[in-house]
């Protein structure tokens, strides 16, 4: 089959590889009908995850048709059309039973390796480095899905793939980011990053009752999308001297009630602090650039919430923890517990409260994945979200 494989920093190739097989009793094989490139893939693409190996198959946002099932799979049938959550969860452990699916104890075959770094091991992810399980991903014609009963969401025929694909990751991710803000009447939510995750966070904050959403980015097309689909007020941080001051003045001096960092470890910045992070990161003295996160902490009102869907992987530096402590902020973060949100969000789509396909700016065949990665990474051609068809 054809698959998108990682070979090094900014080096992905579409290669011919073996078809996947059932390896464990709860596995299923899915014939992929639609897949997407995620901002999280860019961290791998840009070489920020040291546990990638040449030839790893990428991709954790995908859907398709069940073509083979293992002997222990009970709820799926050949021919079912399904969306698969990006995190793999067993459904049986302490964490799964408490709906904390992305913290699953039992799905990381390289658990000992992750424990050396984090002291704990969490759910493994498709196509996401050996630290996180080394699992072959779904930017391919076929993919093996472990614990298929637990994860797969069967989708009704009335929806096309583009409407439901993002239930695999970014819609739940944006939604959980907004839910983590415990939004109250009158709340203002500020969202750093208007990529796919930011866009869903913005719309979800609205759906959850935010009075006002302020979106921050530097790409006009992304800010326009936030205005058009999320009725957000926007800040282009390249046009404003100081984002924190700007947010303060937009909120009567209080600061936003909740701040969402939908940027993560590869934040871009023009300030002195940003250059500091860049230099340290390239010298491997810091693994992540927490530019947006620092701004979140300074901007947030006292007693407010910082919600962090943006991915951090290692160590960050110069955290204004005194400000966070002094202002008694609440921090919520983590990989999304996708399984928890798939059904409720499918209902939102069914009720026409949202149509996730608004996000797609580019549709390309899987064979052009290399070009698609480059375009999405460099934000060329106003690219916001690429879907790939095998």
């Amino acid at each position: 089959m054809k698959a998108v494989c990682w070979y090094g920093t900014q080096d992905v190739r579409v290669e011919t590889v073996d078809d996947p097989h059932i390896l464990n009793p709860h596995d299923a094989i899915i014939k992929v009908t639609l897949t997407a490139i995620c901002g999280s893939d860019l961290h791998l693409y840009n070489g920020y995850n040291p546990s990638m190996k040449s030839g790893d198959i990428l991709g954790h946002e995908f859907m398709g048709e069940v073509v083979e099932i293992g002997p222990a799979v009970t709820s799926l049938h050949i021919g079912d059309r399904v969306v698969i959550p990006f995190a793999i969860a067993c459904g049986q452990c302490f964490y799964c039973r408490r709906q904390l699916w992305s913290l699953c104890d039992n799905t990381n075959p390289n658990a000992a390796m992750l424990e050396k770094v984090y002291q704990d091991s969490t759910a493994r992810l498709f196509g996401y480095s050996h630290l996180f399980g080394g699992y072959a991903g779904g930017q391919a014609e076929y993919v093996r899905v472990p614990f298929a009963d637990v994860g797969a969401l069967r989708v009704p025929p009335e929806f096309n793939d583009e409407q439901v694909l993002f239930l695999s990751d970014i819609f739940p991710t944006g939604y959980m980011a907004a839910e983590n803000c415990t939004i109250q009447t009158g709340d203002t939510v500020a969202v750093w990053g208007c990529g796919p995750v930011g866009q869903f966070a913005i719309q979800s904050a609205r759906l959850l009752g935010a009075d006002r959403v302020i979106a921050i980015d530097r790409f006009p097309e992304r800010l326009r999308m936030a205005q058009q689909y999320g009725q957000a007020d926007v800040i282009n941080y390249e046009d404003s001297d100081d984002v924190v001051d700007r947010l303060r003045s937009m909120t009567g001096g209080r600061g936003p009630d909740a701040c969402i960092d939908a940027v993560g470890m590869e934040a871009h910045g023009t300030t002195l602090a940003a250059w500091y992070d860049r230099v340290k990161q390239s010298a491997s003295l810091e693994t992540d650039r927490p530019i947006a996160l620092r701004e979140c902490i300074y901007a947030c009102r006292k007693g407010g919430t910082i919600s962090i869907p943006g991915v951090y992987s290692g160590f960050i530096d110069k955290m204004p923890f005194g400000a966070a402590f002094g202002k008694a902020l609440t921090f919520k973060m983590g990989q999304t517990h996708v399984h928890r949100y798939m059904r409720p969000l499918l209902e939102l789509i069914q009720r026409r409260a949202i149509d996730p396909s608004f996000l797609i700016t580019h549709r390309v065949p899987l064979s052009q994945a290399r070009e698609a990665y480059e375009m999405f990474c460099n934000k060329e051609d106003s690219c916001i979200k690429v879907v790939l068809t095998p």
């Binding site: 990682w6 070979y7 390896l23 040291p50 546990s51 190996k53 075959p109 000992a112 699992y135 472990p146």
Partner: protein
């Protein structure tokens, strides 16, 4: 630390250091750090790693030093079920891949064959010396064992419906001296790591019915030069060398 042991440790340390630096990633850095630690230990005869790696040496009357491993894990199943799985010793190779086989000879006595570091094997007879259904199983190796060992696994109800806390305590005489333990530990074939991996597999099988794996999945074509990942390839160790190593170990 004996001279031979020092040499072994230095060589292993240098290999790890080089291998780690070559990899240039986190795991590589860890290996490099461990490697330089072993070099230090080889050069000075001191053992800063023992503590860092959580290895406890126990002085004994007869044979110098022993190693004690204590690991625990919470498993979301009732104690009786976990006890029953473990007490049927033939199940253990399913959760500890380094256990080549366990033959149950009588109700109490069994024969164990394990894969030891760097392609060697070790064998012994063991006897269950104490058992309380649903609570504990204790065993001990019999005279003439390759690796003298003693252990107990305890099952205790975890609070608030969290299942069962399983604790394994193991004491053994390491193969090729204590430094062999540190070296093997870094290479991933040391009993403490094996016990931990074994407990994890136990948990995975009891909670989900399978051990997660990525062995056998597809991947892209491989570039030609890749590090093989093993200092001594298993297949190159001739059986005669295994026997001679055993002999020299008893002589020294």
């Amino acid at each position: 630390m004996g001279d031979n042991e020092r040499l072994l440790v230095s060589l292993g340390g240098a290999a790890l250091l080089l291998r780690g630096l070559k990899r240039g990633d986190w795991a590589g850095l860890a290996a490099a750090a461990a490697g330089s630690g072993l070099l230090y230990m080889g050069a000075t005869g001191r053992n800063p790693l023992a503590q860092a790696f959580g290895i406890r040496f126990v002085e004994t009357r007869d044979c110098g030093r022993r190693v004690e491993v204590v690991k625990s894990m919470t498993i979301n199943r009732p104690a009786a079920e976990l006890f029953a799985f473990w007490r049927d010793l033939r199940n253990l190779p399913r959760i500890m891949p380094h256990l080549r086989s366990i033959d149950v000879i009588t109700e109490k006595r069994s024969h164990w064959i394990v894969d030891a570091p760097a392609g060697f094997t070790a064998e012994w007879d063991a006897e269950v010396v104490n058992e309380k259904p649903g609570t504990l199983i204790a065993w001990q190796s019999c005279d003439g064992s390759d690796v003298a060992n003693w252990g107990v696994v305890r099952f205790a109800e975890a609070p608030g419906g969290r299942g069962t806390e399983v604790m394994v305590e193991l004491e053994y005489e390491p193969l090729a001296g204590t430094a062999g333990v540190a070296l093997a530990k870094v290479l991933g074939e040391e009993p403490s790591q094996q016990v931990e991996d074994g407990l994890r597999h136990f948990k995975q099988i009891m909670e989900t019915g399978e051990v997660p794996t990525v062995e056998g999945q597809p991947r892209g074509p491989q570039p030609k030069t890749v590090w093989s990942g093993r200092l001594v390839p298993r297949s190159t160790v001739a059986p005669s060398r295994i026997i001679s190593l055993r002999k020299t170990r008893y002589l020294s």
